[in-house]
Symmetry: C2
């Protein structure tokens, strides 16, 4: 099998397992498949669950696209690839939950290759990441999430670097005009190794393990929080926080903007939008409220480290909310 065939196999299997895991967690909602074609070549399968028991809106998109000429923005980054054909595939997902205590979750793994399949000078690289966006953050959840991702990285020391990827994620998922992170971060990497060369087998193994680590990183949190009672106040706060999610995705997210500018499949791109979001003028939580406490979480913090563990008892009181 060629590299790209091997990657597609991993991505397809990953999407299927994720769909199954999320459907089981939801218990009621089902992912509907929307297939889409890319005018320039290839297409994808957007699988979307709306109005579930646990998930208000969830999407898991698989894309397998190709084209005759590398897009301009990539050609600028990789001049030797200019004018060459390209191939790209990836799985991306966004889940927005009903219960305000259940965080939103986003992850993707992607692969890009320039040149033809047998081009010895082909460039190729993997990118990816996973991050958690709670409205009411729990230290326990942030720690567990980061440690699962740290564990993933530690199983692939030759290609993965949790500390660097965590820092990249903190920087990337910052709503700059608000001076805050979108959530509590996770990991993010643009190019796992330089596109001129890397250990393909090792990198694909990380991606396969990464796809397999997503359910264990997120579903235990969903299970812990999905039954917590909430009212209008918590729902309103969730919708304000989703407003920030929208601000991040439409103003800063490179994948979203690249997709919109290049007239990609709009619905698959904007699958990340929350089902409902709220804005109000200068909305500030009351001093001493759980909502105010939440804001302290949206700054970089060493969640996987000993420091976060030491902080945990203090933050664990938020469980009682």
């Amino acid at each position: 099998m060629s590299r790209r065939e091997r990657v597609v196999e991993v991505m397809r299997a990953g999407q299927a397992a994720l769909i199954e895991g999320f459907e089981t967690a939801d218990g009621e909602g089902r992912f509907i498949e929307h297939r889409w074609d890319r005018p320039g070549g290839g297409g994808g399968s957007a699988r979307v669950l709306e109005g579930g028991r646990v998930f208000e809106r969830a999407g898991v998109n698989l894309s397998v696209v190709h084209g005759d000429v590398v897009p301009d923005s990539l050609a600028r980054q990789h001049p030797t690839a200019a004018g060459k054909p390209f191939f790209a595939t990836g799985v991306s997902m966004v889940l927005h939950a009903v219960n305000p205590y259940v965080p939103a979750f986003h992850a993707n793994f992607r692969y890009f290759e320039t040149g033809t399949e047998d081009d010895p000078e082909a460039l190729w690289w993997f990118g990816g990441g996973a991050d958690l966006t709670p409205s009411y953050p729990f230290a326990e959840d942030a720690v567990a999430f980061h440690r699962t991702l740290e564990g993933l990285c530690s199983r692939h020391p030759e290609v993965a670097d949790y500390a660097t990827w965590k820092a990249t994620c903190d920087r990337y998922f910052t709503v700059r005009h608000r001076g805050e992170m979108r959530g509590v971060g996770g990991i993010f990497f643009d190019e796992m190794s330089p596109p001129e060369g890397g250990d393909f087998d090792a990198e694909l193994a990380l991606v396969e393990d990464g796809l397999g680590s997503l359910l264990p990183s997120y579903l235990p949190i969903v299970e812990r929080r999905e039954g917590l009672p909430y009212g209008e106040r918590e729902r309103a706060w969730q919708l304000y926080r989703r407003g920030r999610y929208v601000e991040f995705n439409l103003v800063y997210d490179r994948g979203t903007l690249f997709g919109l500018q290049t007239q990609g499949n709009i619905e698959a791109i904007l699958m990340s939008m929350p089902p409902l979001a709220r804005w109000a003028f200068d909305h500030r939580p009351e001093p001493g409220s759980p909502e105010e406490a939440a804001l302290a979480y949206f700054q970089p913090r060493d969640w996987a480290g000993a420091e976060a563990q030491a902080l945990e008892p203090g933050h664990a009181t938020t469980k009682g909310r």
Copy 2:
């Protein structure tokens, strides 16, 4: 009085009259004043009404700011102004109504001046516009709105050009990735005359008349539609359309992006966001539904012209919805 003093006087009076007019139309809600300071010099008064009888969220912002050095993006457009101090003032407003049959409304008039007050080589220019964003458009409303603006322009033939400004508005307020306009347009102009010279008195007169034309352009529409009965279906459609409004403002609106990039007053900038917005995957109105009929309105059309009048009877059936 200096030019800038005269403009500020017109802007202040305009804001006050607009507040009064919108409060009267709402009948219950009141605009709360939020004053803000600009770290680099000056500040503003954002007046915001939330949770009114007619308006779910409305904001009318007055800004009067100055700085030591013209911002980079403007210096690139006007190289002779680079390094000079600047002064800017403007009134901008966005109104989102409760009733899905009442359109959202946006307008602003702004003035920019470079150099000191007595600099004989100072550049100065006015910009502005007004546009209407219905969820359920009525031809009668679009025609009346455009004719009011055409009337404004026709009273100032030496500086105004309805046809050009209308076309600029159609182009500007396009959600490019959706291939549709945000609403039914209006007028928009970036620079009323070349910044190197213009007829200040005539331009200020247009702006004053423009500010005074906003209530007559919008409130009769509000009055016609605010009592129409609606249900969950119409509310849902309104929220989907507001999602498009958000997409436009965060992805394309130059004022919004400029404000966010330059760390302007975030709340005053994002006053334009709707109070609540919805997204769903590939939401398409049923064939033959009023929602599908609405989509036909979000393309450029000669609303003020004879052609639109000829179309009107056909579209007027939408009144019966």
